[in-house]
Amino acid sequence: DAGVTQSPTHLIKTRGQQVTLRCSPKSGHDTVSWYQQALGQGPQFIFQYYEEEERQRGNFPDRFSGHQFPNYSSELNVNALLLGDSALYLCASSFRQGSGNTIYFGEGSWLTVV
């Protein structure tokens, strides 16, 4: 049973460019959340997708957008990259949105903006 898988593992982008990160949830899961973890910090919630809609959003600008596909996989898009967007981006999945359900994390995508 594959867990949460993310791609790419590492990438380097230039300021002003756009990036797309991808996530496949754990088998049987239908809810995907994205987190940003800056160096030396705890993960911060970006947004959550359920039934192909953004259900909840953290304190991130509109440059951060996402999508969920019918097979429950998800993409995170970041436009107009800033140096401060350099971070580990973690995808998490769970079954339904309920707070009683265990959340599983992928190993993340390391984004470096130069």
Binding site: V4, G40, Q56, Q97, S99
Partner: protein
């Protein structure tokens, strides 16, 4: 606002010694509480979680945590630390009954001396 505080940024213990990592939460009601571990360059692995009931929770890898409402704390403990426990530990909370958006602390980096 909901928040999680981990007062210790860095802790060093000797192998075989006991361990306690501190976590305090701020939330009007009883939140759902979690401890995650992150090895270098890896994603987050769930150690244990507290939703309700028995305030002493057993997790994987010999870890346990105790929920103390009077102190708004959820400290993680292990009676005998192994060198493989060296990692970063994150305490997190979510609002009970809401979507499973996690609020993380800033983490505690554990070093284990031989």
């Amino acid at each position: 606002a909901q928040s999680v505080t981990q007062p210790d940024i860095h802790i060093t213990v000797s192998e075989g010694a006991s361990l306690e990592l501190r976590c305090n939460y701020s939330y009007g009601a009883t939140p759902y509480l979690f401890w995650y571990v992150q090895s270098p360059g890896q994603g987050l692995q769930l150690l244990l979680k507290y939703f309700s009931g028995d305030t002493l929770v057993q997790g994987i890898k010999g870890f346990e945590a105790e929920f103390k409402r009077s102190q708004s704390s959820f400290n993680l403990r292990k009676p005998s630390v192994h060198w493989s426990d060296a990692a970063e530990y994150f305490c997190a909370s979510s609002k009970s009954g809401a979507t499973n958006k996690l609020i993380f602390g800033t983490g505690t980096l554990l070093a284990v001396q031989p």
